[in-house]
Amino acid sequence: METIKDALDFRDFSKAERIGLILFTIFLLAFPWIGTGSFVKAVMIQFLLFSLFGMGWNTIGGYGGQVELGKAQYVGIGAYTVSLMMVWWKIPFWVSMPIGVLIAIGYSFIIGYPLFRLKGHYFAIATICTSLVLQDIFINWKLVGAAKGIELPIHEHPDFLYMQFKSDTYYYYFIMVFFYVALFYMNRFRKSKLGYQLRMIKDDEEAAESLGIDARWCKIKAYTIASAFVAVGGGFMAVYNLYIDPYSVMDLDLSIKIALMAMLGGAASLWGPIIGAAFLVPLDRFLGSWLGGYKGLIGVDFMIYAMLIMAVSAYQPRGIWGIIEQFRRKGK
């Protein structure tokens, strides 16, 4: 009970932020009825999904300050668990998704234990390597469809158990529920013991250790939480796209995108990953959709995207949220 109260407690934020959150919630709730097109809705779903990923990454990457670039493997684990259980045994999404999360947690423990012996760049590259190794294994593993991937059967009628709907609106509201669960969880997490300890580790690992913090264990815990979040999103991706293959759910690009959005929005802040996703997902999709088809402009959308990334990284390493806070401080 107290936990829930804690999760819903946003009192330590400024009034503006709280009003913003309320407006944002109203906007999200009303969004499917505003009458915007389906592409926009699909983009919104991507936005919510990547916010979810980003919030997960934020535990280890933002609060924990570890350069983690291997989250795609957990997207893959979530997506594959849901797909395989559905194809092999017809197990509903609501059963297979939690199992996927459990598998992700178990796997992240196994991999996290040796992984967190490493620090800095060694760690960053090792996370990429583990993800690539898992991807390669899935590409070659015949039992799970190898490179062909897995197609989920399309149901004739909408089916809540298997998360099959005709309209995106349903998917939208489901991912929105996940999004809010994640948001509330993160709101509690940032105020929790682990949250504080991780921030200390990020600032000064030696000092943290001298304050009685088992840094490696804390990092493993955060890594596991992050993996669980990401696996939920992975499971959702499987039922939403109805097709997964190792290239789309386990790619390095996806790992980088997840970390990039959270970082660019503002790591180690509650709003950061959401803001990052709110900027980059529409930018990526709309720019690609607008400029992608025009001759002679191939690559321009990427160049704009890239310049934005460079500008933010160079101007304010704490991301877009950092820029907002900077202005607020000046305003005071």
Partner: protein
């Protein structure tokens, strides 16, 4: 029972001996100073005790328990706290949050941690800066914040690494006063590395002197000042003879 005992600690770094056969004992409730010229191996010795380094040989016991090779967080849980000479500039956390992290060591509840942290901050007279980020504060207050952080873990033995370096005279006196209060009011055993002789002489009840990785003297401040070896180590061979 001996409170803290260090027996024949040896620590080498790639052939360079940082600590050679250092042994000493500390009684509960004492204030002990560890002095020595630059590169004498003071910080290495600290690190060997709290567990940042694993000694090559030798033994450390605390309250009768062998803690050799314990990790820093484990020695902290045994009741040994430590502060650092340099506070790495922290950008993300306020002073209060920093101290709360220390308090979280003994509790899982945020409210308790916050209450304890506030209590310690007011004990150290830092209520006014609680919401500031550490890097926004002057060095003296940063040091105090570091002290507060370590105190929040409720150590029985507190190891302080150059707590007064870089402070002016008045600030140093404040720190000395603070340390005395910690020792008497909170019953914390203090073990400090210090450069400023004046300060360490006034606060310590006993001194240990390291030079070139070896313990060259141990005793009351009054004795140490007169010790031939110590003078030699600090002021050079020539000065010692002519003296």
């Amino acid at each position: 029972m001996i409170y803290l005992e260090v027996i024949n600690i040896v620590k080498e770094f790639g052939g360079l001996v940082a600590n050679n056969n250092v042994s000493f004992q500390i009684e509960q409730g004492e204030i002990i100073g560890l002095i020595g010229p630059n590169g004498a191996g003071k910080t290495t010795l600290f690190n060997c005790i709290v567990g940042f380094h694993k000694p090559d040989s030798g033994k450390v016991t605390f309250k009768g328990k062998d803690i050799t090779g314990f990790k820093p967080f484990e020695t902290n849980r045994e009741g040994i706290g430590r502060t650092f000479q340099i506070m790495k500039v922290t950008t993300g956390m306020t002073v209060l949050e920093n101290v709360m992290v220390g308090a979280f060591c003994r509790t899982d509840k945020r409210n308790i941690a916050r209450a304890e942290a506030s209590e310690i901050l007011s004990f150290l007279g830092l209520e006014g800066v609680k919401e500031y980020h550490i890097n926004e504060l002057p060095i003296a207050i940063q040091r105090k914040a570091g002290l507060a952080r370590a105190l929040a873990t409720k150590p029985e033995l507190l190891m302080l690494d150059e707590v007064a370096s870089g402070l002016n005279h008045k600030e140093t006196e404040e720190v000395v006063e603070l340390l005395r209060r910690l020792n008497t009011e909170k019953k914390i055993t203090l073990f400090l590395i210090e450069h400023i002789m004046e300060m360490v002489m006034s606060v310590s009840q006993r001194l240990i002197v390291l030079d070139g990785g070896e313990k060259i003297a141990e005793g009351l401040p009054g004795e140490i000042v007169k010790n031939e070896n110590v003078i030699k180590a600090y002021l050079g061979e020539k000065y010692a003879k002519s003296h």
